[in-house]
């Protein structure tokens, strides 16, 4: 089997804009699923609302496209209702960290056995480019026309502090690393949180000096530093990119988890 066999072909083409990074994240996730050897009938994809959350609709398994921000609460019910199911949640930065922020920290605290993949495009894409909790300070959006004045959330730090067993961040540039991270997350009991920074050329890039899709992808390449390496650079006073995006595995641990199949 290949990852392509997991697509619900009669639903394609998808709604994503040309140059969108979400498709890359879906492919990486499905490659990990395929490598896990999960069966379609034992796997469920769950999402909230937003561009990211349309992903389950393109996958052949049982899927629940729920209300805005609440995917993790629905997924908690599905997983505890039938722990034999492998449950993967697709979400976005607005869905997960704004309206769904409380469910996010509590799902991490419970350390419930879910794989949560967040496509972080740093903007509300589907509603036309409003600022989100991960919009960088100074970035332009339709609701931050003079530049965002608010500090952004670091979703990985949040997940780690709240108790998730596995946390990592990559970007849509880092296809192999991202796939491996999702795979490791799926292998780790408890809540696995994988943040994937993605380009949104339509609603983020064109307002923030990324004229071409590749400009933003190049930015994600050149401004990311492995978290361990970054620590070393900081300690040794070396220069690193500004702004810098730490990537890699933030934590992998074995704290008590909820809903693990026995």
């Amino acid at each position: 089997m290949t990852y392509q066999e997991w697509f619900r072909e009669d639903r394609l083409p998808h709604i994503y804009c040309t140059g969108c990074g979400n498709g890359t994240v879906i492919n990486c996730t499905l490659m990990a699923v395929d490598e896990m050897g999960w069966k379609k009938e034992d796997t469920a994809f769950i999402s909230g609302i937003g561009c990211s959350s349309r992903a389950p609709g393109y996958i052949v398994t049982d899927s629940l496209h729920t209300t805005h921000g609440r995917a993790l609460a629905f997924a908690t019910g599905v997983k505890l209702g039938n722990p034999d199911l492998h449950v993967v949640v697709f979400t976005g930065d607005g869905d997960l960290a704004a309206i769904g922020g409380n469910h996010f920290i509590h799902a991490c605290r419970r350390n419930i056995d879910l794989t949560v993949v967040c496509m972080n495009n740093q903007i509300y894409g589907m509603t036309g480019g409003q600022g989100s909790p991960t919009t960088p300070m100074g970035a332009l959006s339709t609701t931050t026309p003079y530049g965002s004045a608010e500090p952004a959330f670091d979703l990985c730090e949040l997940a780690m502090a709240a108790g998730a067993n596995y946390v990592s961040r990559w970007t849509s540039y880092h296809v192999k690393e991202l796939t491996r991270a999702v795979l490791t997350g799926m292998q780790t009991p408890g809540l696995s949180f994988i943040e994937a920074l993605v380009q949104c050329p339509t609603n983020y890039g064109r307002r923030n000096k990324f004229k071409q899709v590749l400009d933003q992808v190049e930015f994600m390449r050149s401004h990311t530093v492995l978290i361990q390496k970054l620590k070393r650079m900081e300690e040794q006073g070396e220069k690193f990119p500004d702004p810098v995006i730490p990537v890699g595995e933030f934590v992998r641990r074995n704290r008590p988890a909820l809903g693990v199949k026995v």
């Binding site: 389950p56 052949v60 629940l64 609440r70 908690t76 019910g77 599905v78 209702g81």
Partner: protein, 366 residues
């Protein structure tokens, strides 16, 4: 073996759910409903079920919908403010045709209102509280026994019609203790599974589609967006949206008489009380004390869909008296279905209509 107990209404509700095979409860503490959750927390793990205290009522409602798709009979219990928070996901359950039971131990509202006092102010919220057009099923218990019986029944109705079913109780019934007879078994009518080869949202003749439980290989896509019979989003088709919403309403409204559940006393009477929930007890006392065949009583055990045909049983009726612990929510519904005089007998604050109070009103109509 049938057993008896002297039990609180909220506990009886939980026992009714357990007897009906409820094996998932997601909830959040709120007065005066908390005893339902507490009893489920004690009993569910021993029955092989799952109890989870969620972070709020929004998540509670979400969790029981998720568990329902995973194949569990699921329930939550709440009161006023929590019920308000559940509204969006209740609409999601309606749109996705997810069976689940929501218990509302009503208290005085609006807002924080009277947490420890009774009320029936959420009757219209339960009917219309989420956005968009839809129908639901709502039961109204008037005794501890009915907290058990009607909770169990709510699961059957919810599964039969694939819709959220509400137990609209109140603080008085929820907190009072009476003798409860717990039967060996309760009537069970489960979900009909989706037949192979049938589209997941293609309805049968009764307008209800078969249930494609997760994990059974259906590969169903479930969305709150307007969807076609495959379950795929088609949110911009006017015809499809109209067809879907009308079916969601008609699958319930066209079965009003099948769903209806009420008691009738003195059907030839000219003056008739209509009650549901705890005020029924005041009316029963009045009828018991008066022993007057000219005073009738229609006691609704199920309020939504409104059983309008029951009004016509009272062929000689001239006046309907409707005591409620709100400002006339169901009296207004009665008015829609009759040309007879409808007298609202509203009461707020938490106390029940006293028999003396109702007798005084009644004497003005005899």
């Amino acid at each position: 073996m049938t057993r008896t107990d002297f039990m609180q209404g909220n506990t009886a509700c939980a026992e009714g759910a357990l007897a009906a095979g409820c094996r998932f409860f997601g909830g959040y503490p709120i007065t005066p409903s908390t005893e339902v959750a507490e009893h489920m927390a004690r009993k569910l793990p021993k029955a092989g079920g799952v109890f989870i205290q969620m972070e709020d009522e929004i998540a509670s409602m979400a969790s029981i919908i998720g568990a329902s798709w995973a194949g569990k009979r699921s329930m939550t219990a709440t009161s006023g403010p929590g019920f308000s928070l559940m509204m969006e996901n209740i609409g999601y359950a309606v749109m996705t045709e997810t069976p689940c039971v929501v218990v509302n131990i009503q208290r005085g509202g609006p807002s924080t209102g009277q947490p420890t006092m009774s009320g029936q102010g959420d009757m219209m919220q339960c009917r219309f509280g989420s956005h968009g057009d839809y129908s639901v099923i709502a039961l109204a218990p008037a005794s501890v026994q009915e907290m058990f019986d009607l909770t169990a029944k709510a699961f059957n109705l919810s599964d039969r019609f694939r819709t959220p079913a509400f137990l609209m109780a109140d603080e008085i019934i929820g907190h009072m203790r009476e003798k409860l007879v717990i039967p060996d078994t309760v009537p069970m009518q489960g979900r009909k599974p989706l037949q192979q080869g049938v589209l997941p949202f293609h309805p049968d003749e009764d307008l209800v589609p078969g249930f494609p439980q997760f994990g059974k290989g259906y590969g169903v896509h479930v969305t709150g967006l307007t969807h076609d019979e495959r379950g795929y989003p088609c949110a911009t088709s006017p015809a499809l949206h109209e067809e879907l919403v009308k079916r969601l309403v008609n699958k319930i409204e066209s079965h009003r008489d099948e769903i209806a559940d009420y008691d009738v006393v003195n059907p030839d009477a000219e003056t008739v009380f209509i009650s549901y929930g705890v005020p029924a007890r005041s009316v029963q006392q009045v009828l018991h004390d008066q022993k007057n065949p000219d005073v009738g009583h229609l006691r609704l055990k199920l309020v939504w869909p409104f059983p309008d045909s029951a009004l016509r049983i009272f062929k000689n009726a001239k006046t309907f008296l409707v005591p409620e612990l709100n400002l006339g929510q169901i009296a207004r519904e009665v008015q829609r279905h009759t040309k007879n005089e409808v007298v609202m007998l509203p009461k707020l604050g938490g106390a029940l209509h006293s028999p003396a109070e109702l007798t005084t009103v009644l004497e003005g109509y005899l």
